[in-house]
Symmetry: C2
Subunit: 450 residues, 2 copies
């Protein structure tokens, strides 16, 4: 039950698993099969037979950026209610107890563009999980008492995870400064004064509108066969009636940015200052062909690990404790490109920031070398290959892609598309998008720092 | 057909009139009479018999802050359509020609919280004006051709008045940075990419929802008697059927601000730089008793004319070409308090800004003197008395007050309430609201300025 993204950073994997499984063996393993149920629910199956386990995920195409004005936090609140409330067929908590009883795990997360629920269980329990998820897709019984209790939970979650954390508070206001019109400005957990007023009517309307098979994607990854999964999905999810058609997800877009913006938080709890600079850039869904891939490689070259420019120029040279770059490409609308850093020892934050921006200026002026581009491609593609060894991670990749306007081939063809990016394309996206005068920078400072 | 406010400044008078009329003479002159028509339309009449003229205004309780997500600019666009389209009874432009024929004037304006239409004519033409306005309140015929033509007009208006003016571009992004959730963030004229898509369906839905007698206020000021106006209003507006009840205007509110924010625009067209610092503060409608009055006096003391602190410290001392303060109290939701200044000669903008903020710090620490408070009250109340000599201005004051949640007594009792403010209250609002670390500052700089 996590708030995952906040409009500023890449989606982390919901579960971070370290596997030592052997490379994919059985023929067809790792290859996704994709089909639609009659009620409009999309299904992706990614077989992987190396371990007797299956990841079962239901993704809904609704997140904080779809919330009605003044109802921020309802998507995440509703995710909580899915665990708190009973259904017509099951008592509250029964699903969680069933998962525990068989030694599985269960959780959920909410992001700007989607909400997902997942279980990791033995394959023999898959159909039971499907019955539970199909049941709560349509049979949830929302009650005033649950609303009140769970609203207190999310309010406390906000206090402890946001309001008590200067970094998180800054993050929220940077996002709302970067995004002046597009709803990624809205914090996934919600603004406190609006969360306090979320009620049964809001929750019921949200459920009725968005929790339908035709607004959901089922992803099953692990020790399963597509045919079996299909039969099981038809027996369970297939029985849920199609809901009212939803209008296309056309959300307010960001106007052109004409200014340089800064957001500064000073707090006595801060011991090490940091900065992060953000630019509005296209996502895989909104980009012109090749641009998102070039941005991914630009992030890799600038800030992807120990060989990256920011690491070499800032960390290795001893002025930064940490530095990096990030591109959150898997979003429905325009997304953000970020560089960040934190000074080491007596280094000045301003010097660090200037050095980081100088690296970008150097790429804008001189481009990247063929060698660093090749290495960045290798790192990127290798990480994708490693990822394929992790069925739970791949379930996340397919799920997040499909609920942000992508298709199965977008995942499968990603390595080839990355391979095709030229050094000129990387230079071009840096020049086009990473304009210092049209950026937004957040500063986290100790109370006395000047 | 003006865009009036933009979430950052006080509402200027729609018409700036210099009158040399004698002081109010006839008994009852200047005293407002207030009543409701059976269909829910509110009416205010302010008799003033010194000149044979009447200001007739219809105010609708809808502005840019009420627009649906992604439809920014529709309120202002609709104001244009009210002049562009024909009605069932009148050809397009007929109202304007009728006003011209009798030597009157006609115009309209749109703001964050309201849209208003007005004519200034001889009293004998008042009923005719009422018939015209009552007619277009309900009988407008929207056509695709008019939509296309007028949309081009507002797009051109945006290009010429915003996009070609660095100050206006900065202003927009400062407003959208100051307001991270509250819809005063939306520019009244609209974001270009959304204005381009406004269509007939949007316009019709907007008209049907908001243009009803129960969502309007009629203000008539000038050479008229309340009884006559009432009879005329009943014969004209009274015939318009009540529209569907609108929900209360509960809009998303601003979360607590925890950061200091800056927005910088550099442009080769800028010759003289300037800064403006903004804080979110309560409006007359949202403030605790006495706080809005104290903020009005604080603005007066800080930046109201030649005796103000900013003028004395910055302009008289030769470092500023101009400087001032402003409080936009007549808003439905929380509003903003602003200080601003522009350097003179070789003075540095940063020095000017520091000196301005030092004056605020001085008030927060030491308060204001009884003498300057008394003088500020006198200036404020005197300006209100002068204003009463101007029926067109008073029509604006009553209209804007009534469509932002105020009542007739709020206007009438304002001078007394201002008189009651203490020096401690002024110090308290400065300390409570004008916190440097929770401010938003815009900088307009020449391209080469550092």
């Amino acid at each position: 039950m996590n708030v995952l993204s906040d409009g500023l950073r890449r989606m982390p994997a919901a579960t971070t698993l370290v596997t030592t499984a052997p490379a994919l063996a059985a023929s067809g393993d790792g290859k996704a099969t994709n089909f639609l149920l009659d009620n409009g629910m999309e299904v992706v199956v990614i077989p992987d037979h190396r371990a007797p386990i299956v990841t079962h995920m239901v993704w809904y195409k609704v997140g904080s950026a779809d919330e009605p004005p003044g109802k921020s936090g309802i998507a995440h609140f509703f995710e909580h209610l899915m665990f708190k409330a009973a259904t017509i067929n099951h008592a509250a908590g029964e699903l969680g107890r069933a998962v525990s009883a068989i030694g599985g795990s269960i959780n959920a997360f909410t992001s700007n563009d989607y909400t997902a629920y997942f279980e990791r269980v033995a394959p023999s329990a898959l159909e039971q999980m499907m019955r539970f998820e199909a049941d709560r897709m349509v049979n949830l019984v929302l009650k005033e008492d649950d609303i009140k209790t769970e609203r207190d939970v999310i309010l406390e979650e906000r206090r402890s995870r946001i309001d008590n954390d200067p970094q998180a508070v800054l993050h929220e206001e940077v996002a709302a400064t970067l995004w002046q019109n597009q709803p990624y400005r809205i914090p996934v957990i919600g603004w406190m004064q609006e969360m306090e007023k979320l009620n049964l009517t809001d929750a019921q309307a949200f459920y009725d509108k968005y929790y339908t098979p035709n607004n959901a994607v089922l992803v099953v990854a692990g020790d399963v066969e597509p045919e079996t999964v299909k039969a099981q999905a038809e027996k369970t999810y297939g029985k849920v009636a199609r809901g009212p058609a939803l209008p296309p997800r056309i959300r307010p877009l960001e106007p052109e940015q004409n200014t340089r913006r800064t957001v500064t938080l000073r707090d006595p709890r801060v011991s090490v200052p940091d900065f992060s600079t953000h630019w509005v850039v296209p996502s895989y869904r909104t980009a012109e062909p090749g641009e998102a891939e070039a941005l991914d490689l630009l992030a890799e070259i600038l800030g992807g690990g120990n060989r990256s420019r920011l690491y070499q120029q800032l960390v290795v040279k001893g002025i930064a404790a940490g530095a990096g770059a990030d591109f959150g490409g898997t979003m429905l609308d325009a997304t953000n490109f970020t560089i960040y850093g934190s000074p080491r020892g007596n280094a000045k934050l301003a010097d660090l920031e200037a050095a980081a921006h100088a690296e970008i200026a150097r790429i804008v002026k001189d481009g990247v070398t063929d060698d660093e581009l090749e290495k960045a491609k290798n790192r990127y593609v290798r990480s994708q290959i490693f990822a394929r060894d992790n069925p739970a991670y791949m379930a996340n990749v397919y799920g997040s892609t499909l609920v942000t306007g992508g298709k199965v081939p977008d995942v499968e063809e990603r390595p080839d598309r990355i391979r095709k990016v030229t050094a000129d394309q990387v230079k071009a996206v840096a020049a086009r998008y990473l304009v210092p005068e049209h950026s937004t920078t957040g500063y986290l400072l100790p109370k006395t720092e000047t």
